[in-house]
Amino acid sequence: MTTAEKLCILGEAARYDASCSSSGSGRQGRSGGLGNACMAGLCHTWAEDGRCISLLKVLMSNDCVFDCAYCASRRSAETRRASFEPRELAELTAEFYRRNYIEGLFLSSAVVGSPDRTMERMIAVLRLLREELGFCGYIHLKVIPGAGEELVRAAGLLADRVSVNIELPSENGLKLLAPQKTRQRILTPMEDIRWLKLQNAEDRRRYRGAPLFAPAGQSTQMIVGATPDTDRKILLLSAALYRRYEMKRVYFSAYVPVGRHPSLPPPDARVPLRREHRLYQADWLMRFYGFTADEITEDDDQLDLELDPKCAWAVRHPEQFPVEVNTADLATLLRVPGVGVKSARRILAARRARRLDVEDVRRLGVVVKRAVFFLTFGGRFYGLKSDSRALLRAQLGDGPAAGGQMTLEECVPRISVPAALPAVGAAG
């Protein structure tokens, strides 16, 4: 099989891994080397599905010995199998990088033989890149649950970010759909990573030259909609993961229901894309806006699909609004729909020079058509005079939820359930 053929098979198998971030590392280049990872937020292109491509995202192999019901690479799936040789993948990555196609490599894998054996092959790619080809670009390595701590340590010393997929929000889900995985096998490497990072920070305090361990931290991903777990449960779990394992990101992946397992949604169920989007918005609120999971889901275990979570919270709390744009503090401004972190900071800076009106605030980047319902400008209020929540919802809503909740027929015309099911939760 040619490298090109392997690339297509293993690129396709990796596409359900949501992360493509290349930020947070700060790795500098070195003389005679290739690349660096010190510039955050570079996306080299966007695929037809509107998702950014920053890293060469591939599996090392899709020849899995596990049988997770939601995954195309599972042992029982009829699909073409392929595996990269370490040198083949390292050289391909370097050449793509030299052409400025990518910021680096995102390497995941099916479990080939055993978790340790799989990790050894992945680490071999990283060693070739770092040590032989002088590659200083970004590397995200997916750790295989069940891999030994020494291998996790070796991986973290070569990669910028390491991650372990939590896969499903509940242990029951795992038992049903991924019986060879247990919560323990997933959480242990997460804990190893957290601990190794702490140790590394200590080492670097003592010896400044000690190599960095996963400078961009760890992340994880969970599938949404394959099991009946609620948004509240998902958000509480995310918050716990951020807290306990110092996650940099928790990613969500909407489940595409094409599996035939009795515990999975039926093949004609809707792909919960709007739900996935709302979860990302809620996650953003928790990370940058000072909201808690409890506040976001205080009324309902499921997120409102018609209103974004910040608007939904504001509509539920009329007693908190309107607030005066010229005097509100940062934390209060951050709770106003239409005001982002950047624009809230700009408001604070701009009002040192003058009192702000609607036009000023618009120039500062505020989405005025939302914010006017929650702000006063020098005492003037331009929002609704009525107290009607329904009217306010109608002004703020994104339209009927079904718009973002595509049925399989809507999304994939004339699709027949393929023999090879897409990998919703590839790897490890």
Binding site: E12, G35, F96
Partner: protein, 245 residues
């Protein structure tokens, strides 16, 4: 009101600022680019030749206030913003700090917005520039770009730091300039001969990248509108994954 015509790029603008302050007319003069087309003036006008020493003094002052980068980017935009830029300089010097946070002020808003546009264009080419492997051993990589603004000096450092041992050329179509990096020194050249070099790609990486690009899109999430938002059509002609050879 006196109009000062400045030549010689951003240095020329800084020289005109120096001159405005020297004469005490900084709040009552207009600065215009020399050769920037017909300009109607309402009072006396004068050509101010660029002077590196005077420009340097203004630059040092503005640097201390954290204003040089935004002003130079706004200048690169080529838009007629000289009045707004001067107003910002005057305000910055008066207040003893850069006024950039106050985007609600009209001159600040216009200057920062223009600077943002240039910055974004540079950022986009950091992402969208594509190299072809064209000839030689060791190989030489070449890229053609068609930016809206003259961003070559802004992106040069990124690529020389990123590919310290890779020989490459970046040809800026429209401005007729080429960045040449030989592994030691970066030179921006106006030599038209560099545009006659063949850009034929050697190797099979481009084909593999195109195939990969197709394979990673999730068909049932197709969202071409979003894709078009992020990759505007004007860039696609030179993007390998959109079919550029």
């Amino acid at each position: 009101m006196t109009t000062l015509f400045c030549g010689g790029g951003f240095d020329g603008f800084l020289t005109a600022v120096f001159e405005a302050y020297r004469r005490g007319i900084e709040t009552d003069c207009a600065i215009r680019r020399a050769g920037g087309g017909a300009v109607m003036t309402l009072g006396p006008s004068e050509e101010i030749p660029p002077d590196p020493v005077r420009a340097g003094r203004v630059e040092r002052k503005l640097k201390a206030l954290g204003m040089v980068r935004t002003l130079s980017l706004a200048w690169l935009s080529g838009e007629e913003l000289e009045d707004e830029m001067l107003a910002c300089v005057v305000r910055g010097i008066r207040e003893g700090r850069a006024p950039w946070a106050d985007r609600s002020s009209r001159p600040v808003g216009r200057v920062t917005a223009a600077a943002d546009r240039v910055r974004l264009e540079a950022h986009r080419y950091v992402e969208f520039l594509r190299f072809r492997r064209v000839f030689g051993d060791p190989p030489v990589y070449l890229s053609d770009i068609e930016p809206l603004y003259d961003i070559l000096p802004l992106i040069a450092g990124h690529f020389t730091r990123r590919f310290p041992s890779q020989l490459f050329l970046i040809r800026e179509q429209g401005f007729g300039r080429t960045l040449v990096w030989d592994g030691r020194e970066a030179v921006i050249s106006d030599d038209p001969a560099l545009f006659r070099l063949s850009a034929e790609d050697r190797g099979d990486a481009a084909g593999m990248w195109r195939a990969y690009f197709e394979s990673v899109a999730i068909p049932w999430r197709k969202n071409k509108k979003l894709q078009a938002h992020f990759v505007p059509l004007r860039f696609r002609g030179r993007l390998t994954e959109f079919g550029a050879e």
